[in-house]
């Protein structure tokens, strides 16, 4: 079983293709759409939580790549600017998935990017504006 949160960038020509449908139908993958922008005349973007048998998962990714979809892990796109962050912790109760948490010993704020679903709630809530999203 493989579960990953990935960011898909669709070139303009693929925006009308039922790509996610094929991931389900042909590769038996489960998906949860965390975010999607499909703007006409522009690139499409989708943040997916994708899971399934490892073999199917790999084939699904292969299929996406063969169509020309650019894939990268979500953790590369939501970043905490370590210089700007003051480790206050006001973001912690706002984060719906516990991706931001205060370490009880160091009292610094940790960002667990594997738990992040890119909801972006922390971005504007952060007083130092240390949370950055680079899709």
């Amino acid at each position: 079983m493989t579960l990953k949160r990935i960011v898909l960038h669709f070139p303009h020509r693929l925006v009308n293709e039922p790509i996610v449908y094929k991931l389900v139908k042909e590769f038996d993958l489960k998906f949860n759409i965390l975010k999607a922008y499909v703007t006409p005349q522009e690139e499409g973007l989708m943040v997916l939580e994708l899971s399934g048998k490892k073999e199917n998962f790999d084939k699904g990714i292969e299929y996406l790549e063969s169509c020309g979809v650019k894939i990268q892990p979500l953790s590369q796109d939501v970043i905490r600017n370590e210089v700007k962050c003051t480790d206050c912790g006001v973001c912690v109760p706002i984060c719906p998935t516990g991706a931001l948490a205060v370490d009880p010993h160091t009292r610094k704020v940790h960002f667990y990017d594997n738990k992040c679903i890119a909801c972006e709630l922390c971005v504007k809530v952060c007083p130092a504006r240390a949370m950055e999203v680079h899709f």
Partner: protein, 400 residues
């Protein structure tokens, strides 16, 4: 037990025993207050959080021909400064906004850049754009000035914050059914989160609750440099209800502080944006507490479990000036990440950075141990709980 003079002698000789306000708690638990009071000379405190009544004044030097900014308009990186002084003195406040910022017209406003951010850039040594217009006089004929300025060329650059380092602060919740945007952060409906703002057991005035050692003239760590307590801060309110241990149960004392901006560091004066509210400056302050007697030590060794605050509703009660507490919680409870409000577990978030407060207390301790920082004797006390000094609401009167 010992005097500030004696402590300074030990600092000079490199023999001083200094510990942070956090370390002293464990020491007292292990050895008892009596023994620790004999051993420890200084306890260092620290706090780092948003403090709105902050700002800096500058003397920019005279241009040729001369211009009188006083009574004119002057902006630094588009942020208006106060010019109601002589020719080239200006004051930049942390919450000032560029005229063309939409503020809350598109709600909630983002407040990405204001006076606090300009102060941060100036401290960081970056060039800042100054644009000014004046009415012109015989002695100051110039009417327009546009130039880059830099902190190293300014005659004076002085941080002067009229209210900092609140002794305790409210815990904010939102009891309404819609999200609200406040200076205490974003508050989710139905008490979805509880935000607080204090370094608790590291916070300067919580460790000297009666202002026995902290007074006017006390030398402090301010923004990474050296500063002084200039006065009690605005809204200083020493007469609030206190616990048996003497610690105020609600926001109480405040400090007005001053110091040379040229020695300060950008990481301790951070421009901060509160969504839907405005900009403010996060300020780093550390105050040394000389252990002159056992009582001072006992107070300096109070822990988060012994310091409490009040839960306040920011949807109705706070804006409408209704004085009501929804309950009392300790900083130990707040720091656990959850408190109980009306029978419901509510996640907590601190606006004040405890880890930065810890860094400040450590840094001040290092300065003292290395002999770089001598303690000062206060020249006058701050008004205490017995002084009768209070914080009054505005009584509006019709203008006839």
């Amino acid at each position: 037990m010992r005097t500030i003079k004696e402590i300074n002698e030990k600092i000079r000789k490199g023999e001083v025993v200094a510990v942070t306000a956090e370390e002293v708690i464990d020491l007292v638990a292990k050895k008892g207050a009596k023994r620790v009071a004999q051993e420890v000379d200084v306890v260092t405190t620290g706090t780092f959080g948003p403090m709105c009544s902050s700002g800096a004044y500058f003397n920019i030097g005279h241009s040729k021909p001369r211009i009188k900014l006083g009574g004119g308009v002057c902006k630094l990186n588009d942020v208006p400064v106060y010019t109601g002084f002589a020719a080239v003195d200006v004051y930049l406040g942390a919450t000032a906004m560029p005229d063309d910022d939409p503020r809350n017209k598109v709600f909630p406003g983002e407040f990405k850049y204001g006076g606090a951010h300009v102060i941060n850039e100036i401290v960081a040594g970056r060039d800042v754009r100054l644009e000014a217009t004046a009415y012109g006089t015989d002695c100051y004929p110039r009417k327009k000035l546009e130039t880059l300025i830099n902190i190293k060329d300014l005659n004076e650059a002085v941080l002067f914050n009229i209210r900092n380092a609140y002794q305790n602060y409210n815990v904010a919740v939102n009891l309404s059914d819609k999200i609200i945007y406040t200076y205490m952060g974003v508050l989710k409906p139905h008490a979805g989160n509880a935000n607080y703002c204090s370094a608790g057991q590291l916070s300067p005035l919580l460790k000297d609750p009666d202002y026995t050692t902290i007074g006017i003239g006390t030398k402090i760590f301010l923004g990474g440099g050296i500063g002084y307590v200039a006065w009690q801060g605005t809204q200083h309110n020493p007469s609030v209800k206190r616990k048996e241990n003497g610690i105020p149960q609600a926001p109480a004392g405040t400090l007005a502080v001053i110091g040379d901006l040229k020695q300060m560091k950008p990481q301790w004066l951070v421009g901060t944006s509160m969504l839907g509210y405005g900009t403010t400056l996060s300020v780093g302050i550390g105050v040394p507490i000389p252990i002159l007697d056992e009582k001072i030590l006992e107070n300096a060794a109070r822990s988060d479990a012994e310091i409490v605050s009040q839960i306040v509703d920011y949807s109705q009660d706070y804006p409408q000036m209704v004085s009501r507490s929804l309950g009392e919680v300790s900083y130990a409870q707040l720091n656990s990440g959850k408190i109980i409000v009306d029978g419901k577990a509510v996640p907590t978030g601190n606006l004040s950075s405890y880890s930065k407060a810890r860094e400040i207390a450590e840094e001040l301790k290092t300065w003292i141990k290395k002999g770089d920082f001598l303690l000062s004797e206060p020249v006058a006390p701050l008004p205490n709980a017995e002084s009768g000094y209070t914080f009054k609401a505005l009584k509006e009167r019709p203008i006839v």
